[in-house]
């Protein structure tokens, strides 16, 4: 038997690569009958997100379910099989002069199915909308192998419950997504990405609040630590540890120019850099990817009401300073998405006797409590090995979790779709 890929330290009994939908349906039906736990995976880029499955029998790779099944530039829709990489689907949209309005990290490996299941919204979600807004339809296989479809290729659809929303961000808990239909956007007449070093997080708060309260409609409004930028740009950043603002705009050239000018003017004396067109796209790619994760890094993602975005960074900075950790961050100030990385200085922090537990162990709960106070949430996206056994990867979804559990029980009565992986242990 061929060797299998481990998922969070769990070795599956078998790794399967269904050739197509019918094959996948058979696999699920059999697993459902036998009570074998399946872990559906595309590019495996999100396996560190959230909780590990409680148990694992079969790793099921969706890579062969690949390709765009429909590209309709005039209707502004694109449908792609779940195993299609984001890069490929994006290229297909671009080939017909359209934008696929999703912006996850690692587009070369991440698959459409995985990105939609993980609800990974990147920097440009500020302008594109989130996945819940741009996914028009989903086809999926339920735990018993039966095929279902929800939504479709129309912009508006109230026929039946909005099951599409339920599948976006469901982490595979309800079924195996096989195909997704997205709305496309027309290509922008012009686009620009302004890079502006700032003096402090206070400054970041002031500038982002100004943009959010203005007429401007940013495509992205990221506040990042200098290490989130490619080498050359980091050099241009302000004082050590100071944030950098990236404000992106797309649309009519006159509107884009004015937007860049207006934001620049809010930071007198700064040294702005403006990237255009392909250069800007490349920078977005870099931003979405984040710094390459290394062994000793704890990674967290928070979601908060937009005005609190920078407050999360401040809280993280305080924690990092008090615990001798180095903080990296990428924060979408127009969406309230915050990605944090914390690493031990120089050495591999995990190796320290109980150093890891002391410095990292309390971090998710500590920062989560603050995010929750701000009206948001926080989950772990990497570095589980640094955390004590039984750590809480997701946090508490409140009273709604009982409904989520009941939904899970009905969709997956035998618990074969990676139980334990998602919020509330579902």
């Amino acid at each position: 038997m061929s060797s299998t890929t481990e998922i969070r330290g769990l070795a599956p009994r078998d790794e399967l690569r269904p050739a197509g939908e019918a094959d996948l349906s058979d696999i699920l039906a059999k697993a459902n009958a036998d009570g074998d736990v399946c872990y559906l995976a595309g590019g495996l880029t999100k396996q560190d997100w959230g909780a590990a499955p409680a148990h694992l029998d079969l790793l099921v790779r969706t890579g062969a379910l690949s390709g765009c099944t429909d590209v309709d530039p005039d209707n502004l829709t694109l449908s792609a099989m779940a195993g299609t990489t984001v890069a490929e689907a994006r290229a297909q949209a671009e080939a017909v002069g359209r934008i696929l309005p999703i912006d996850p990290g690692q587009p070369g490996e991440a698959t459409i199915g995985g990105v939609v299941a993980a609800g990974d919204n990147g920097p440009r979600a500020a302008g594109y909308g989130g996945l819940r807004d741009v996914v028009l339809g989903v086809r999926a296989l339920l735990a018993d192998g039966s095929a279902v479809k929800f939504g479709g290729r129309t912009m508006k659809n109230v026929t039946g419950y909005d099951m599409t929303k339920l599948f976006v961000g469901s982490f595979g808990a309800l079924g195996a997504i096989t195909e997704v239909t997205f709305r496309l956007l027309p290509r922008y007449d012009s686009q620009a990405l302004l890079i502006l070093p700032l003096a402090s997080l206070d400054d970041a708060k002031r500038v982002t609040a100004g943009v959010l309260g203005s007429y401007l409609q940013p495509l992205a409004l990221e506040v990042v630590s200098a290490d989130a930028l490619p080498g050359g740009d980091a050099a241009g950043a302000g004082p050590a540890g100071a944030p950098v603002l990236l404000a992106g705009f797309g649309g009519h050239r006159a509107a884009v120019d004015r937007s860049v000018r207006e934001v620049t003017e809010t930071v007198p004396g700064a040294a702005p850099r403006v990237l255009h067109e392909e250069e800007a796209s490349a920078m977005y790619g870099h931003l979405a990817d984040g710094a390459a994760a290394s062994g000793g890094t704890l990674a967290l993602r928070a979601s908060v009401p937009i005005s609190r975005t920078i407050d999360v960074l401040a809280a993280a900075q305080t924690y990092a300073a008090a615990n001798g950790l180095t903080l990296g961050y990428r924060a979408g100030a127009a969406r309230g998405r915050v990605d944090l990385t914390l690493r031990g200085e120089g050495t591999n922090a995990a190796a320290g006797a109980d150093g890891g537990a002391a410095r990292f162990g309390a971090c998710p709960a500590h920062l989560r409590a603050q995010a929750v106070d701000m009206g948001g949430s926080l989950f772990v996206t990497g570095g589980a090995a640094l955390l004590p056994e039984g750590y809480d990867a997701w946090g508490d979804a409140g009273g709604a979790v009982a409904i989520m559990r009941r939904i899970k029980e009905r969709f997956d009565p035998n618990g074969i779709l990676a139980p334990g992986r998602f919020v509330g242990g579902i």
Binding site: D74, N75, L76, N121, G129, G130, R132, D133, S146, A147, V148, K149, F150, G152, R153, T154, M155, K156, N157, V158, T159, G160, Y161, D162, M163, K165, L166, G169, P186, R187, A209, L212, G213, S214, Y215, Q217, G251, H252, A254, A255, S303, P305, I306, S307, R308, G336, R337, G375, G376, S377, F379, W394, A397, G399, A400, I403, R406, F411, V423, G424
Partner: protein, 489 residues
């Protein structure tokens, strides 16, 4: 007559806030669809605690319930089947919080849609979903139907703007779904609740995304010599990569009905007009308007007019939004077929709908969200004539079938209600419907919430009656001419 149930309910909301005498209940017998059903009682609720207490009592008494906003829905969604009790939500209309820095508003759902933007306007903000019925429909009804509107072409429908909901479940439990932040933790239950037509529970409070009012707005009226030209313009604008805020179409019959009732400045001899609005930054808007004008001309549009001031612009919108009402001059009743097609199929869909009208010898007026491919052919008829009524039902179903056949769907924004239950198999398999049943069971295992709507309980094959004799509770053809389909508008 006071029933024990009535007494218990009065204990919660006060004596004046429960109606249970037949004469009082007549107002609540119908909505903007064509059927009627007599509720067992109507309860006016004012707080979430009251809603919770009422649902607790109803569960104990094993009585189903129907939340009701303003009764303007077009699919029978707020009819009380199975002897259900109606919870009238209109008094829960308070604004709880306007949070400009977070671009959110927390508001009770009984509020009129239009009031939301009126309240926000002095602050420079608005709420984007703007159903044509916005003066007369509630946010709760919008949430339940996932309502759309002209500006949804650019900004999306209700579900794109509702981020959190306080919901009372059957039995009385109160739970918050979603919140103020954009990326919810766990399953997107807010997303699943929006569009569930009151069948999952009662929404009491909502957290809305609010938007900064655009700096500049420009409104164009494209005057077309054929409906198909209009359809082609829509396709061409979308294909050219332009994203106006609205792309609304009104046909000749409707134009004349509008002009007869309110004189808004639509040219009476046009086969159709397209209402195209641009919004955003002032910079570049002039050029975009020119580009759209050029596309219109190239697609054979006779003339493009630009609203010269806010007054002219408001007049055009008054006409568009008053269109359904104006059409009631032409016939006692209308039935709106709410099918939606991929935008590229719009011209073909319009052609086939016109064929259906000819074949059934039914006058059809069209006024619709062209940019979204959301048709609204209004089949004009007289519900007092049983033959006419039957004809309309059959023709309406054919329109929906055309939309499904063209790769579209049977409802874009008006909901399934009782009206389109038989149309569900046009787009869904039994497995698709079974999976939707899972959601219903998870929220409302006993089936107390708005029974007989949106989804058939226990078996979904076409023609299956709603569980518990729901079909018999729906009055057949109304006995008098009281069905006023433009009620509340």
């Amino acid at each position: 007559m006071t029933t024990p149930l009535g007494e218990r309910l009065r204990g919660v909301v006060g004596a004046k806030n429960v109606l249970d005498r037949p004469v009082q209940l007549q107002t609540y017998e119908y909505d903007a669809y064509l059927e009627r059903a007599m509720p067992r009682a109507v309860v006016f609720v004012e707080t979430t605690a009251q809603v919770s207490a009422v649902l607790g009592i109803l569960a104990e008494e094993r009585v189903p319930f129907v939340p009701r906003g303003c009764g303007t829905n077009l699919s029978g969604g707020s009819l009380a089947l199975d002897g259900a009790v109606v919870l009238e939500m209109g008094r829960m209309n308070k604004v709880l919080d306007i949070d400009i820095p977070n671009q959110r508003m927390t508001v009770q759902v009984g509020i009129f849609n239009l009031d939301i933007s009126t309240i926000l306007s002095p602050l420079g903000y608005y709420y984007a979903p703007d159903p044509a019925s916005q003066k007369a429909c509630s946010l709760g009804g919008n949430i339940a139907e996932n309502a759309g509107g002209p500006h949804c072409f650019k900004y999306g429908v209700t579900s794109n703007h509702v981020l959190g909901l306080e919901v009372v479940l059957a039995g009385g439990e109160t739970v918050w779904l979603g919140g103020k932040d954009a990326d919810v933790l766990g399953l997107d239950l807010t997303g699943a609740f929006v569009g569930s037509e009151g069948t999952l529970g009662i929404a009491t409070t909502a957290i809305l995304r609010i938007l900064r009012k655009p700096e500049a707005v420009k409104t164009l009226l494209a005057v077309c010599d054929s409906l198909e030209d209009g359809g082609n313009v829509v396709s061409a604008i979308v294909a050219a990569g332009l994203v106006p805020a609205t792309l609304e179409m009104v046909d000749n019959k409707t134009i004349n009905a509008i002009e007869d009732s309110m004189a808004c400045g639509f040219p009476r001899d046009a086969a159709a007009v397209l209402l195209i609005e641009l919004d955003g930054l002032r910079d570049g808007m002039e050029e975009m308007a020119e580009a759209i004008t050029a596309i219109c001309k190239a697609s054979g549009v006779r003339e493009v007019r630009i609203a010269k001031d806010e007054e002219e612009r408001q007049a055009l919108w008054r006409g568009r939004k008053g269109a359904f009402g104006a059409l009631s001059r032409l016939a006692p009743n209308y039935m709106v077929a709410d099918g939606t097609v991929p935008r590229t199929k719009l011209p073909e869909a319009l052609r086939r709908v016109a064929d259906i009208g000819r074949r059934y010898d039914l006058p059809i007026a069209s006024v619709f969200h062209a940019g979204d491919g959301n048709l609204h052919p209004l089949l004009l008829f007289d519900s007092r004539d049983p033959a006419d009524r039957e004809k309309v039902m059959a023709a309406g179903m054919e329109v929906l079938k055309v939309c499904a056949d063209l790769g579209g769907t049977v409802s874009g924004e008006h909901g399934i209600g009782i009206e389109k239950l038989d149309a569900l198999p046009l787009v869904f398999t039994d497995d698709d419907l079974r999976a939707q049943g899972f959601v219903k069971e998870a929220f409302d295992p006993r089936g107390w919430a708005n029974p007989g709507k949106a989804l058939r309980a226990g078996g979904h094959a076409a023609g299956t009656a709603p569980a518990d004799g729901g079909a018999q509770a729906v009055a057949g053809a109304p006995s008098d001419d009281h069905v006023e389909v433009t009620a509340g508008v």
